[in-house]
């Protein structure tokens, strides 16, 4: 499963970042931040007219030595990034896709919360537990 899950706001600041090995948090932050360039590239690659029909799932953004980074952009330009261990070959594209879909649904729930201020960092417990379920269980 994922080793890092991030939700990035439209303005490219993090709304939520969670990673498994706490000591490597910084590295994941850097990785996720850097992946935004690829996300932007992929979004801009799709023409403006096609923007509405754009596939939300961006696929593999880039592989690093240890990780694979996948991206997903909602229609409101909120980005989801999932980092997966490269050694984890069992994960198929479909599974990543469904992870993103789950993430999106949960994110929608967070946004529907009338007490949530759009733009704030996400502190929802439900979201948290959903993310935890998708993460590699740290041993």
């Amino acid at each position: 499963m994922a080793v890092c899950i991030a939700v990035i706001a439209k303005e490219n600041y993090p709304l939520y970042i969670r990673s498994v090995p706490i000591q490597n948090e910084l590295k994941f932050h850097y990785t996720v931040h850097t992946s935004l360039d690829v996300v932007e590239e992929k979004i801009s690659a799709v023409g403006k007219a096609m923007a509405d029909q754009r596939e939300l799932y961006l696929g593999l953004l880039y592989p690093t030595e240890d990780y694979k980074v996948y991206g997903y952009v909602t229609n409101s330009k909120v980005k989801f990034v999932i980092v997966v261990d490269s050694s984890n070959t069992s994960l198929r594209d479909n599974e990543i896709r469904s992870m993103f879909r789950k993430l999106h649904n949960s994110f929608t729930d967070v946004m529907c919360n009338p007490f949530y201020n759009p733009g704030d960092t996400i502190q929802s417990k439900a979201f948290d537990s959903m993310v935890t379920a998708m993460m590699v269980q740290a041993s």
């Binding site: 932050h29 360039d37 932007e40 801009s44």
Partner: protein, 1519 residues
């Protein structure tokens, strides 16, 4: 990749140039040495040819050679880099120096790249750093000064690349940097120059062919030897030189030799003439900057090896000058760095060597001159420059190019002759293996063939050799085809290293082909790199290949590929290379069409990391700073913190502590998401750095970033901190810092203060009035300078917040202030002399902890230690005690900041301990610094400008004016209860204490509940009260008189007349009563002090009576004590003291009273007095106390009345003594008769007096007309008076509406008159005693309840139903009709006349004797009103109601059956009637109907008057 100064073509061309070796005789070396140069160095600036050369290719086509550059180097015989391709230590050191010394120019013009929403300040403008392309140095210099490279340049990278490429070791698989020719240089001053030439020639031959040296490598076996005769114009004989040259021409041919004349002037003579120095750019261009940073032990070692080699190489050449030669060669060898074939950039090494040479051989003056000289070519004139240039041109075009041309031709011929064979062989093998083309197999499959070496004369190498030659002379087409062929051959032989070299060069030459007939084969490069790296393990070659390829890709805008290539080349073996390549990759990302800013930033960080690992701190810092621009303020706090931390560390190690502090401050002030240990480390490091900064400059205290101060939440409190309780005494609560600010409460206090000020100033609030504010906070009005009193403390409460997850310790926390002395007592002569008033500040004192501060002016409190837990918000209260008057400004705080040294140490901590030994290290790092308190006022929003702009008003909270002394009152309460029964009377004592040195006067108190307390009336009560509270434990609060023993309780009322003005509340009430002038004074009481003043230090006790509020529940009661200074004219007009009590009132009794008109005839004596009116008053008393445990029973001790017109006369209770005890929920009823005290009293308000009538039901009489009781009565009246009117108004209003529109002004009179006759205005005071069991002790509580009777037959209650009434009021949207338009209601009108029938109760009549029975009946009519009333009595009227139907027959009235009468005001009239009965029985005589109307109101119809109660008469048949 960053922009380079050179174009790609230039760069590649310059990377591979024909190499020319130099062998120099000793004397020739001496000649050049005069210019502080050796021969190769002398030539170097002129090595680029400006003119075009021509040569023929193998097909005899003339080709143009443009911009050719040659490289001239001394022969170095030492072995180069080991064949493994791993660069040695010295090599690395050299490169690292090159990079280190090349730093971006400071203060250059910022170069901003805008990428998306990022504006990146990438690099500073930097001067061109590489070797100029232009042969003319003057052009170069002007070009440099005028050109502006605003694109991002990374000169350190170019410098690195240049020196890297130049230091490439010559290898066997390629010939590009093998020597093509050798210059043999001999001085003309030589005895036999020709012999010397011969020797040098032999030497060259020996070096090339003896096999002793693998280095240097030579291109072709028969190297071109070019004989140069160097002539020193200043010394030698020119003709001799010419003749020797002629001789040489004979011997070597005109194209194989040259006479070079130099040194046209002497060094001394040339000093005045300004000759530019083109060498400075080529030689040690970094030496001047780097000398101070440079320290290296390596040169000594290098020197030694050089000497060794040299001795072996040259000693046998010339015996007699071998020593000298030795020295020169040492010199030359060392000057060209062992690993650097071209540019020496090792200045200290060369200088050392020079010095060594000088010591050995040279005369001292020359040596010192050389050592001191920083300029080169001192002996060369411009003519000499031209000569050198000409020489190079001549050599190249006449010597080198023809030589190359010849060789190419030879090789070509060889190859062509061999082609047939090889071709067929190849094609055969190809056919056999079925491949149309030699497949470029994946490298992994191929076996490692780096061991495979071709012999030097192998045919495969000949192709390569020819290709290299072609490449060097810019025959790129030919070169490409040769490389391509060679590549195929090598690949088929599995000679991977050779193949890679061929691939690399094939790609490069393909790129360089003019017109680009074929696309650049990038995959060649990739394969080459991969082969170099993985198969040959030669990182140097791989790196060269990558650098070339990246540059080419970059030129084709394939930035992404270039970046990938560069990133691939990063590895663990060289941090410097990785750093540089990563940085270039980062630049590639930002140069993409869609700039990838974040990738740029990330790779910059990686580069910074590698730089710092490579010891390039400055570069590392720069990288981090550039990456910071991307991460800054975007919410990526973890990354930002990391960068900031690194920047801080790097800055600190680079001695930029200010930057370090700023960076660290960022980490600490931002809301950090770091773990606590991390934060602790940050904090310690920050403190350590800070300490070092502040240690350097002791001038001003630094501003500290921690902890955060919420400056707007700062509160300032003026005055002492109150002690709340002292034994039995309870101090006035006043204001304290512990209270929260409440806007409503503040408004309430201000209202109270306004009231009391108005009362003190005779009803007028002065225009300058400002409410006293004892505690200033963000919500108070802080526009004015607050006033503080000298010798009274000022307490500043500061809110600290620790944003970190680690605890902070502040020590020696104190306030920082500035004070300007001013004497307010003396008249300030002029304002402009303020300038010379010196402001005193404790800033200097505070900077040193634990020093006595300026306590004579202002005593400053110091908090020794203040601990802030992680993420805690904590208040600190700091006290100032001003001793002199003036203007004080509180500036900020000074403290020592330290972290707790509980957690584990970090590296910095350990270094801190190691560096700063002694006590400072022991106590841990703590920094003394300050933080200013700057409070922004509220945002202004009044005018339009203020609304459109954001401007803030001033906030003067922290700038108090210290004024001369003022009185200070302290108030204590004794025996002050917290719980009372409703209406309970309790006596307490209050102590006023003047604790200042100024006399106090004008003491007043205002309260929100003026009916709650009384100080008693000064005239009557004071002498009677015991003075000390202790002597008065169980006595009643009331003044009592024992009733005479014989008297029946409640039989007779004691009557007293009292005027309202006698009582304490008189001022306020009287004022309110007179004309409404004193509107503000209704809740204000003057406190009866002995002499009206309270001397300094004096205190006085006064009794205080309290009465439980009538409403149950908890009451918040506010007192505001007002006092003034006896000395007038101070800056502060008055002072106030606040007190708030909470009283819990519990239910006691509920009293309901009704007044009825008595129908009985007035008693005899009253009748005599002409009084017609008496009333019955029914009092219902119910015990509604709910607490069963507390109150056992209530006794009604006394019932008193108070009214202007009425008084209770007598208790007419049927069962007298039973009703006065009430247990829980019991109810009793008391009946009283009330009479008018004075008939027709003329209402004159001035003398109006209240009649108090006391009816005691117990055995002692309470005199209600005295202090507590009457006081409370009058205070109670106050709200009722105001209550009465609207009630009456409302009823009128209702009636007027029911009756329609009013009848003009007469209506008001009627209403008044009619109302008056129904009003009673009688107040009943119920005095009770409650027996309460408290701690097994019976306590008697006393109390009083008031019932105000207003209207006859209307029930009044002691408990006001105000709340209910309010609930019932409907919202009215229409304005109410004006109240005067009223007419009295039917009901009210029906009360005009009171009727009474007087008759015998039973009457015996012998019906047998006389069948008609006549009974005389008297009808008494009394006019209740004060007006004339017309009355009609109608006897004929019969009741029509079914109940009153006569069963037994009826009676009739005899005589006149209708009367018309007129009654004057209050008149009583009797009418004699006769009733006639026919049977015995019981009859109701109440049939007469009385109609009445006001006499002067003709239009009105008569109203039926209330019938009296059934008047029954019994007629008895007496027979």
């Amino acid at each position: 990749m960053a922009q380079c100064v050179q174009s790609v073509q230039e760069f590649i061309q310059d990377s591979f140039v024909p190499m020319v070796a130099v062998l120099c005789s000793e004397d020739a070396e001496k000649v050049t040495r005069k210019n502080n140069l050796n021969f190769s160095e002398l030539l170097r600036p002129f090595c680029r040819l400006t003119s075009e050369g021509h040569m023929r290719d193998p097909n005899n086509q003339v080709q143009v050679v443009k911009n050719l550059r040659i490289s001239v180097n001394n022969v170095v015989t030492r072995p180069s880099v080991p064949a493994s391709g791993v660069p040695g230590h010295a090599h690395r050191r050299l490169l690292s120096e090159v990079v280190l010394t090349c730093q971006p120019a400071e203060g250059g013009v910022a170069n901003v790249i805008t990428a998306g929403d990022y504006d990146l300040n990438i690099s500073d403008r930097s001067l061109k750093a590489s070797v100029p392309w232009y042969s003319d140095w003057r052009d170069t210099l002007t070009e440099l000064s005028t050109s502006k490279h605003y694109t991002a340049t990374t000169p350190w990278f170019e410098a690195y690349r240049e020196s890297f490429l130049q230091s490439m070791p010559a290898s066997d698989h390629e010939f590009l940097n093998h020597y093509l020719a050798c210059l043999l240089v001999v001085s003309s001053s030589e005895a036999v120059p020709v012999e010397k030439f011969l020797k040098l020639s032999q030497e060259q031959h020996r070096i090339q062919h003896s096999g002793e040296y693998t280095n240097p490598k030579w291109f072709i076996p028969n190297t071109l030897k070019y004989y140069v005769l160097l002539h020193d114009m200043s010394q030698g004989d020119e003709q001799r030189a010419d003749s020797v040259y002629e001789d040489m021409k004979q011997r070597y041919g005109a194209q194989g030799c040259y006479l070079l004349k130099v040194n046209s002037r002497t060094a001394a003579a040339g000093a005045d003439e300004q000759i530019p120095d083109p060498w400075s750019q080529y030689l040690h261009k970094s030496s001047l900057q780097s000398q101070d940073q440079y320290e290296d032990p390596a040169p000594v070692v290098v020197n030694d090896t050089a000497v060794e080699n040299n001795v072996g190489g040259t000693s046998e050449v010339d015996g007699h000058d071998s020593e000298e030669k030795d020295g020169v060669l040492v010199n030359s060898l060392d000057n060209t760095h062992p690993l650097q074939l071209d540019t020496p950039s090792d200045p200290p090494g060369s200088l050392d060597a020079l010095r060594a040479v000088a010591v050995e051989t040279k005369p001292p003056p020359v040596a010192t001159g050389m050592a001191a000289a920083t300029s080169h070519g001192a002996c060369l004139t411009l003519n000499d420059h031209d000569r050198i240039r000409l020489f190079i041109q001549e050599f190249t075009f006449r010597g080198l190019l023809p030589h190359i041309e010849k060789n190419i031709r030879q090789l070509n011929d060889q190859l062509v002759s061999r082609k047939g064979l090889s071709r067929s062989l190849f094609s055969a093998t190809k056919k056999w293996f079925g491949g149309g083309k030699v497949p470029e197999k994946s490298i992994a499959e191929l076996k490692n063939t780096s061991g495979l070496l071709y012999p030097p004369e192998a045919p495969e190498l000949q192709i390569r050799k020819m290709a290299d030659l072609c490449f060097l002379v810019q025959l790129y087409d030919l070169a490409y085809s040769c490389y391509h062929t060679a590549k195929k051959d090598f690949l088929s032989d599995q000679a991977m290293l050779y193949a890679a070299g061929a691939l690399e060069m094939a790609a490069v030459s393909a790129f360089l082909q003019v017109g680009a007939p074929r696309p650049y084969p990038a995959h060649y490069m990739d394969t080459a790199i991969q082969t170099y790296r993985d198969v040959s393990m030669n990182m140097v070659l791989a790196e060269r290949c990558a650098l070339l390829s990246a540059e080419v890709l970059k030129s084709q805008a394939k930035y992404s590929d270039a970046a990938t290539l560069l990133i691939k080349m990063t590895s663990e073996d060289s941090d410097l290379r990785s750093a540089l390549l990563l940085e270039q990759a980062a630049h590639c990302f930002i140069n993409m069409r869609n700039p990838m800013v974040r990738k740029f930033a990330f790779h910059m960080i990686l580069a910074g990391h590698r730089f710092s690992k490579a010891g390039q701190k400055r570069h590392a810092l720069r990288c981090y700073c550039q990456a910071m621009q991307v991460y800054k303020g975007k919410g990526w706090s973890l990354a930002e913190d990391h960068i900031n931390f690194t920047i801080g560390r790097q800055s600190f190690t680079l001695r930029q502590p200010e930057n370090a502090v700023t960076a660290f401050r960022h980490i600490l002030t931002n809301d950090s998401q770091q773990t606590s240990t991390q934060q602790g480390a940050f904090l310690r490091e920050y403190l350590y750095v800070y300490k070092n900064v502040t240690g350097a400059c002791e001038v001003a205290l630094p501003q500290l970033p921690l902890p955060c101060i919420n400056s707007s939440a700062t509160r300032v409190y003026f005055g002492h901190e109150r002690r709340l309780a002292e034994g039995e005494k309870q101090a006035a609560t006043h204001v304290s810092l512990d209270q929260e600010f409440d806007r409503d409460l503040a408004a309430m206090w201000q209202d109270l203060e306004e009231q009391v000020v108005a009362a003190a100033k005779r009803g007028v609030v002065p225009a300058t009035f400002q409410p006293t504010q004892c505690c200033l906070n963000s919500q108070t009005d802080n526009l004015r300078f607050p006033l503080a009193v000298v010798e009274e403390p000022i307490i500043v409460e500061v809110v600290f917040r620790n944003p970190l997850k680690v605890p902070l310790v502040l020590s020696d926390l104190t306030l920082l202030w500035k004070f300007t002395l001013k004497d307010f007592n003396r008249p300030q002569p002029q304002e402009d002399s303020v300038g010379d008033v010196v402001a005193i500040s404790n800033e200097k004192d505070a900077s040193v902890p634990r020093t006595p501060q300026k306590d004579d002016v202002i005593a400053t409190e110091v908090i020794p230690e203040f601990y802030l837990s992680p993420e805690e918000t904590k208040l600190a209260r700091l006290k100032l005690l001003p001793h002199q008057t003036g203007q004080l400004n509180i500036l900020g705080l000074v403290y020592n900041l330290a972290s707790t040294s509980s957690t584990g140490d970090t590296t910095i901590n350990s270094t801190a301990a190691s560096q700063s030994e002694g006590p400072s290290a022991a106590e841990g790092t703590s920094v003394r610094g300050r933080q200013d308190l700057e409070i922004q006022g509220p945002r202004l929003n009044q005018t339009k400008e203020e609304k459109t702009s954001v401007s803030h008003g001033p906030d003067r909270r922290l700038d108090p004016t210290i004024t001369p002394p003022m009185p200070l009152l302290e108030v204590f309460f004794l025996q002050f209860p917290t719980a009372l029964l409703c209406g309970e009377i309790r006596k307490a004592y209050v102590e006023f204490c003047n604790v200042s040195r100024v006399t106090l006067c004008g003491l007043r108190v205002a309260s929100t509940h003026p009916d709650f307390f009384t100080f008693g009336s000064s005239s009557l009560a004071t002498p009677l009260t015991p003075l000390s509270p202790t002597s008065f434990e169980n006595c009643s609060a009331y003044k009592t008189l024992a009733t005479p023993p014989g008297a029946t309780p409640g039989s007779v009322a004691a009557v007293t007349l009292v005027s309202e003005g006698d009582f304490g509340s008189g001022t306020g009430l009287g004022g309110g009563g007179v004309s409404g002038a004193g509107t503000g004074g209704k809740g204000v009481t003057e406190i009866p002090l002995g002499e009206g003043t309270l001397k300094p230090g004096e205190s006085t006790q006064l009794p205080l009576w309290l009465r439980g509020p009538d409403q149950e529940g908890v009451h918040e009661i506010h007192f505001l004590f007002y006092y003034e200074s006896a000395e007038k004219g101070g800056k502060i007009s008055h002072r106030v003291l606040r007190h708030t009590v909470f009283i819990c009132a519990s239910r006691s009794l509920s009293v309901r009273a009704t007044a009825c008109r008595s129908n009985t005839l007035p008693e005899e004596e009253e009748r005599k007095e002409g009084r017609n009116s008496s009333m019955l008053v029914f009092v219902d008393v119910e015990n509604i106390n709910s607490s069963e445990a507390g109150v056992r029973e209530f006794h009604i001790a006394q019932v008193s009345s108070s009214s202007k017109q009425w008084r209770l006369h007598k208790c007419i209770n049927p069962a007298e003594d039973k009703d006065c005890k009430l247990t829980s929920r019991e109810r009793g009823k008391l009946c009283f008769r009330a009479t008018r005290c004075k008939p027709l009293q003329v209402p004159s308000k001035a003398v109006e007096k209240y009649t108090f009538a006391d009816l005691s039901l117990g055995n002692e009489l309470i005199i209600t007309s005295t202090t507590p009781c009457a006081d409370f009565f009058f205070r109670r009246c106050q709200p009722l008076e105001s209550l009465r009117l609207p009630v009456a108004m409302e009823t009128q209003g209702r009636h007027s509406r029911s009756q329609g529109v009013g009848h003009g002004d007469g209506a008001k009179d009627i209403a008044g008159v009619v109302r008056k006759c129904n009003e009673v205005e009688l107040d009943i005071i119920i005095l009770w005693k409650a027996f309460v069991v408290e701690d097994n002790k019976q306590v008697i509580l006393e109390g009083q309840l008031h019932v105000a009777l207003q209207t006859i037959d209307k029930e009044a209650c002691s408990m006001t139903q105000k709340e209910e009434a309010q609930e019932m009021v409907l919202l009215k949207f229409k304005p109410e009709l004006p109240p005067p338009m009223t007419r009295p209601s039917m009901e009210q009108l029906s009360h005009l006349i009171k009727t009474n029938l007087h008759y015998p109760e039973s009457y015996s009549h012998p019906f047998n004797q006389k069948s008609l029975c006549m009974v005389p009946v008297t009808l008494t009519l009394s006019n209740c009103s004060l007006a004339q009333v017309d009355v009609i009595i109608d006897l004929r009227h019969k009741t029509t109601s079914p109940e009153s139907l006569e069963v037994h027959g009826s009676f009739t009235w005899l005589g006149q059956t209708q009367f018309k009468l007129q009654l004057r005001a209050q008149e009583v009239m009797r009418v004699q009637l006769r009733a006639c009965f026919l049977h015995a029985g019981v009859y109701n005589l109440g049939t007469p109907r009385v109609f009445a109307k006001l006499a002067d109101q003709g239009a009105m119809c008569e109203t039926s008057q209330q019938t009296a109660t059934p008047a029954l008469i019994i007629i008895i048949n007496s027979t």
